[in-house]
């Protein structure tokens, strides 16, 4: 027979075994009976850095250009937001707007600096009025000093990451993407961001450039920031004329490795992509902010032509119940259809990447344009969709959160 294993002795080992429950009970019995501790710093700091919601107030409205306004937003202490969450230049706030019977969100990139929020308690955002724009007109018409705002925490992954990006950045932008780079320039000046940024700013003419004076001022004061205005429709002395090209970038690019950050309108992205490709940079060195929504889905080449002009019925389920049956035009995102129908639907980025609008499609087919489908592998297999970039192609049943 094989030898028995003993650690101390047969008897002692056995009695120690029998005593295991007793031992545990006695340790527990010796513990304090004061109420269990509730709050932990890690959790409260996590909540502070990533609050579910931030209650803000408009402190100041600044006319920053033709149909352009900047809003200074401060914490609304009366609603419980004492301190603003920190952010990194390039991040946005998703702002909830109640317009008529609809609840909608819009993302706005923060254009102020990190220290403006941490030390001076404000965020600044820029709003451009879109002709017939649903949300921007609402903001222009209703936001004034004192208006209460409901915003998300700072969101998005489009920011400088020192372990990933080279410390020399080339920025490429136009009026749509300028908030990101204004925030970066301000951060460089205040030394909360340790990079060297050369910014190419594409505009039609000098008068349409926003923040021009301020950007030039920062350039004067900061060695690490340089701005190159490129005017397409006007010749201005001492400024570049035309478009941002490979040659132009190379003329200003440093000899060492650099990362390109691109944020702007879809036209800019279209124009710049071939130029960037010719630079032959590794993929990690080109970072693109997919910030703007597809304006007219029908213009997307892979949009199924047979669906143009069609409209479908969508059954909307929430918490196990059908809460509405709505109309979903094929050329409008399901998220917009939900908002139009007055259904409070979650959303943040509105370009398919954050996943906050996540819904389960239990019946029907949707169209998701190439390039904005950033769903996870298993999500795709299990019928999870992001309504902000999904278009009804048949009658649907969806389950929203």
């Amino acid at each position: 027979m094989k030898d028995k294993l003993t650690v101390n002795s047969t008897l002692k080992d056995f009695s120690n075994f029998v005593r295991i429950p007793e031992h545990r009970k006695s340790v527990i019995n010796q513990a304090l009976s004061t109420p269990t501790k509730k709050n932990y710093v890690v959790n409260s700091n996590a909540n502070f850095l990533h609050p579910d919601v931030q209650y803000l107030r408009v402190k100041e409205v600044i006319e920053s250009g033709a149909d352009e306004r900047c809003y200074i937003l401060v914490p609304d202490t009366a609603h419980g937001t004492g301190k603003l969450a920190f952010f990194r230049p390039g991040q946005y706030l998703s702002i909830t707007l109640n317009i008529g019977s609809s609840v909608v969100t819009r993302p706005f990139t923060i254009c102020s600096s990190p220290y403006d929020s941490s030390d001076k308690d404000f965020y600044m955002i820029k709003v451009k009025r879109v002709i017939h724009g649903f949300a921007t007109n609402h903001i222009f018409n209703t936001w004034q000093k004192g208006t209460e705002i409901v915003a998300s925490a700072p969101l998005g992954n489009f920011y400088y990451q020192p372990l990933r990006d080279y410390p020399f950045l080339i920025g490429i932008t136009d009026n749509d993407g300028i908030p990101t780079f204004l925030s970066m320039a301000r951060a460089i000046e205040e030394k909360s961001l340790d990079v060297n940024l050369t910014l190419f700013y594409s505009c039609r003419e000098k008068s349409s450039a926003i923040f021009m004076e301020e950007l030039l001022e920062i350039q004067k004061r900061t060695r690490n920031f340089k701005v190159i205005f490129v005017f397409s429709d006007e010749k201005v002395e001492n400024y570049e004329r035309g478009f941002i090209t490979k040659q132009l970038i190379e003329a200003y690019a440093p000899p060492e490795n650099y990362s390109i950050f691109i944020d702007g309108s879809s036209q800019l992205l279209k124009l710049i992509s071939t130029q960037i490709a010719e630079l032959n940079l590794e993929r990690k060195a080109v970072r693109l902010n997919i910030g703007s929504q597809v304006k007219d889905i029908k213009t997307i080449p892979d949009f199924p032509v047979e669906s143009i002009g069609k409209s479908f019925e969508c059954k909307v389920k929430k918490d196990g119940k059908v809460i509405a049956t709505i109309n979903c035009p094929a050329d409008e995102t399901i998220l917009v259809a939900l908002e139009r129908a007055g259904i409070p639907a979650l959303s943040h980025c509105r370009v398919g990447s954050c996943g906050y609008c996540r819904a389960r499609l239990t019946k029907g087919n949707v169209f998701i344009p190439n390039g904005v489908d950033s769903r996870k592998l298993a999500d795709t297999k299990h019928g999870i969709i992001h309504p902000c970039v999904s278009y009804a192609m048949s009658d649907l049943t969806i389950q929203i959160n």
């Binding site: 009976s33 004061t34 269990t36 920190f86 918490d319 297999k381």
Partner: protein, 518 residues
Amino acid sequence: MDFDIIVIGAGLGGLTAAACATKEGKRVLVLEKGLAPGGSATSFTRGRFEFEASLHALCGYSKSQGVGDVRIIFDELGITEKIEWCQPKNAFRIITKSKNGERIDATLPFGIEKFINAIEEYVPNSKESLTKLFELAENSVNALNYLCSVDEKINMTFAKGLLKDYGDFVRTAPYSVNQVFKTLGIPQRAIEILSGIWCLLGVDCDRLSFTQYITLLYSYIQFGSFVPKERSNEISLALAGFIEDNRSQIRYNSPVTRIIFEKGQAKGVILKNGEKIFCDHIIANCSPTDAFSKMMKINDVPVTAVKRTNARSFGARGATIYLGLNRSASDLGIEDYTTILTETSDTSVQYNLMRTLNSNKMCIVSCLNNANPGCSPKGTCILTFTTLFTDNCWGNVEPENYFNEKDNFAKRIISFYEESTGIKISDYIEEIEIATPLTFARYINTPQGTIYGYSCDDWDSMLSRFMTEASDSDTKGLRFCGGWGTQHIGFNSAISSGRNTAFATLYDIEKSCKEGNN
């Protein structure tokens, strides 16, 4: 009442509990704070990469039907076929330093015989003691299975009965890993190699219960580990799908703020939006600490439960660095799936190094491509560094320094990896995400960002929890599952605890029906 059972939290434990109860014909309502199922068992995308959040190895799953507790549960639920699996080639590689400063670098295969032979090559004359170790492992695992199958209180008479078939288990179960290693006469160098997996349980080998350690080692080496091809999100969605397609329900974005008790019996929950849902049977897949301190009124928490919670300390807090690299694993020379890197093979010293931010370099590195070759585009690979903190050091980081500290932490870990392996990776980072205990606190809402539940210190090991399980169930109508429950942490434990808790609750329901009839 619309539902037979309410489950708080859609982590793997909660989902499994809900799925198993649903399978038994109950209507279950799962209430989840977040927007997706799975808790830690999820994934996220950055650029052209999809990163696994936390499940890097699933134990207890076997290729053959009816083998391994997870496999059995998935077969019962009929979801096995819905999940595609990959298998890493080797168990793990360990790189560390022995007490005298000598470098240890060992790569160990799956399969008990192969595993023993591989160690014998690194440490001659260890075979005999290792063979004894695995015999003891088998005895211990069989003993635990037997203990689970009987419905008897463990007292003197019962324990005596165990001696006949499970004597070695009985005589080693009260002791720590190191005490039993010593008894078995395992050579020092072999101990240093074997100890490496302590970090999967979060307590050093001087305090870690031998039985708990050996159960993990045995099931890992015997059955191998499995990796879901489309990340653990695939497991979570398969379970969620089963629940939702079978009359039960999951409500996301629905945090529970209060568990209602009446006369010592759970009666339902209140959601953040004020909605009340009544139900006599609640399974919580959250920490008892949160349930007792935040979700229950002080007077509703039994003194025994308060004391138990106060006696315990939190297990390891998690931090993970996710890298998408723009070179393939083979171009970089990364051959292994799992590499454990520690600064010293002395687990108590290592445990103490893991208390503070600057001194912790320990990491478990997974290169997903070496188990799941198509997981990232050609010419790229995914590398994940899981680190554990044995104290609350992230609580001392001022929020204004947080972003910088995160980057510094990642830099330290990455350079430790580069030094230890000689593989340069920092120039190839195309995507990076850094999760700290604050990240875990944000997403899974555990106190201090703990990912290992309560620390399984010797007095509170899995076995001792199991032996006192009855007295732990002191909140009538409310049971706990998942990493904070009896079975401690690990994804297979979470899954099997979900099933066990579901069945305990089904038994409660049956009992209360009988009482109601009488």
